[in-house]
Point group: C2
Chain length 394, copies 2
């Protein structure tokens, strides 16, 4: 087996569950060319490090000759949430969907090999789906099956409304698998039920049932919740190298090993070494810098990673002023610095500015500000907190 693929790298690291592992191993050993299904909802187009876990796994399969089938959920996005209950599901126009899909794919192909990817649009088949097709599809599944799904059973027990439509969406996702004849569907742990419906439906219509490869959820920079854009605890793949470096340096130490394991290619030997270093209470700063570089190299290149590190050392560690800082026009004379800070976007409210000043966190040209009103000279640098700067100009 080792001749064909690295079992641990492919099916253990960065994998939370495979259904059914023996079947997938057999298909890999037979040298079957697999169609790896990945879907995305074009109502949000941002990819962050949490998504990278799965996309890196797709890439590893591609390196063995397999093909990714990326399904753009354009049909669903153009329907939105007809009940109006979900604010996360706006109705998108055909144009918006196309723009979002383009943005998504630019990020997607930072990690996944474009030359080994087939892009399919859901509307190819759902645009002409008839009521007869719906009846045939819904006749294959029972209410009890769906109510067994964890989130549904909890909501049902709590008396919270579940619309009939919510039972239909997983069937549509399953039908996608039939349409593209998926061999393996990829998804997060939280997608298990829907992925299984696809597997079941394929078997029912006489296709070989897809395997399911689930990837673990990455904890966000706050150290406590799943990384997600709405929680603000994410590192986006389109952020600048400097932003990524800074965010990685801010993650809690106990996430280090997870991040190394799930979103980098450092070897297993190194992983053990790092783990030992953390246990022996070595300074994690060195490891964090390594992690930040590993991530930036994947998304940009080595030069960008080095530059980001240099920038971090200079500004944050040596507290130097960065090369380029934004300018902000001021009036002459004595100014309310909290007002300036708010208008310049350094803080979100005047009370935040006041608090920072009281805590000694605001400097003008390197001198701590002690009271809110101050006569500023043109060209002075205003610093708020550790890394927010603005040059005050005429």
């Amino acid at each position: 087996m080792q001749d064909i693929f690295d079992f641990n790298r492919l099916l253990r690291r960065g994998v939370s569950e495979v259904i059914v592992e023996e079947e997938l191993v057999a298909r890999l050993k037979r040298g079957e060319k697999l169609r790896l299904k990945e879907g995305f909802d074009p109502s949000s187009s941002d990819i962050h490090l949490g998504h990278m876990v799965g996309l890196r796994k797709l890439r590893q399969f591609q390196e063995l000759g397999h093909e990714v089938v990326l399904i753009v959920g354009d049909w669903t996005a153009q329907i939105g949430d007809p009940t109006g209950q979900s604010v996360t599901r706006p109705v998108l126009s055909h144009e918006q969907v196309k723009v979002n899909a383009e943005t998504y794919m630019q990020q997607f192909f930072k990690i996944v090999d474009r030359s080994r990817t087939e892009v399919r649009w859901q509307s190819e088949w759902f645009g002409k789906f008839s009521l007869t097709d719906v009846i045939k599809l819904t006749g294959r599944f029972t209410i009890a099956q769906f109510l067994a799904r964890d989130d549904f059973s909890k909501r049902f027990a709590a008396g919270k409304p579940i619309t009939l439509t919510e039972f239909i969406y997983p069937l549509l996702q399953a039908y996608d698998s039939v349409q593209v004849q998926a061999s393996v569907e990829f998804g997060g742990n939280d997608q298990k039920f829907n992925l299984l419906v696809g597997r079941e439906l394929q078997g029912m219509v006489g296709q070989q049932p897809q395997q399911i490869l689930m990837t673990p959820l990455l904890i966000g920079t706050d150290g406590s919740h799943k990384m997600s854009k709405s929680l603000g605890n994410y590192i986006g793949v389109t952020e600048t190298p400097e932003q990524i470096f800074g965010k990685v340096m801010s993650i809690p130490d106990n996430l280090l090993m997870d991040y190394f394991t799930l979103v980098t290619d450092v070897t297993d030997a190194e992983l053990s070494e790092f783990s030992h270093e953390i246990e022996t209470r070595a300074n994690p700063m060195v490891l964090k810098k390594r992690l930040a570089r590993e991530i930036i190299i994947q998304l940009y290149d080595k030069a960008a990673a080095s530059a980001a590190e240099d920038n971090f050392v200079r500004i944050v560690q040596n507290k130097e002023i960065p090369d380029e800082i934004p300018h902000f026009r001021i009036a002459p004379g004595v100014l309310s610095i909290p007002n300036v800070m708010l208008d310049a976007g350094l803080v979100k409210s005047k009370s935040e500015a006041m608090r920072l000043i009281r805590q000694g966190g605001v400097e003008i040209d390197g001198k701590k500000l002690t009271e809110p009103n101050y006569a500023v000279a043109y060209g002075a640098v205003l610093k708020a907190g550790k890394r927010r700067y603005v040059k005050l100009i005429e």
Copy 2:
């Protein structure tokens, strides 16, 4: 109110529930021309006395100037039961549906006024129903709402499968109401949930919600179950006057008042009188004959009713041989009478024939048969039970 319509006749007798009665009364008093929705499933085309309860009510509304909208469920019939779980829902071809619908309407218009009926075919709207339409429709209703329906909740509790499709069918019936802009939907008690879904959906899409008029279920000739073709306890509207007469005479005495109330126009004064006669243990035979005549007059005419009664008196009461009896060819010599009875269709099994002979229920030319083998003369009349005859010929 009495000026406009007879409240008791229209909304009390033969009505089990009206939702909402005050609304319906108000519409009737306003002189609104109502669209009375009645649907039928062309997978079975036979109308029996149980259906007559509702059809007679439609007719009464028509007499006040309202219009029936008969919905032919052709779309649903051509889908059948895609799960294959229901034997009562075969897939019908377009041709079969047309034939069944024609047969149904021939019976339907024995009771309902054809000139005040609009016939609509479900496929007019469901033929072009898209997945988007399905999502919009299913998004309006919750799983909990459907599971609250009595039969669903029982099946769910018992762990019996309910397919998703079964939750969709009531929505389609509701959508029919929207399409034809029904003012009142008619149905049996057992249809209450589905009828309410239609009312709710109309309100959601900005139509005036339909009223619902439910008619009681008629108990079949067995005296214990709802009249239904599959139970064999029915009186079909296409049966001959003789058959109807015979079946009415066979119903249990305690059903008499129900039948008079629900499927005849005898006055309320007569109803009280009949009820008193039954309580005072009068011979119910007279009342049964009256009931049979009332029914036959509606489906045929007075002459047919009289002829059927004469026939009944002659054959059953006076045990005469009917004018026309079927012929059956026999071989010469000693015959096994149970075999003959089975082949001639007088019994369903030889053991039934043997039992009848033992009980003295079989006669040849008026003489009781005492043993199963008998040398029959050509032209002899074989009688089994009270009313089954066959003439044995060369």
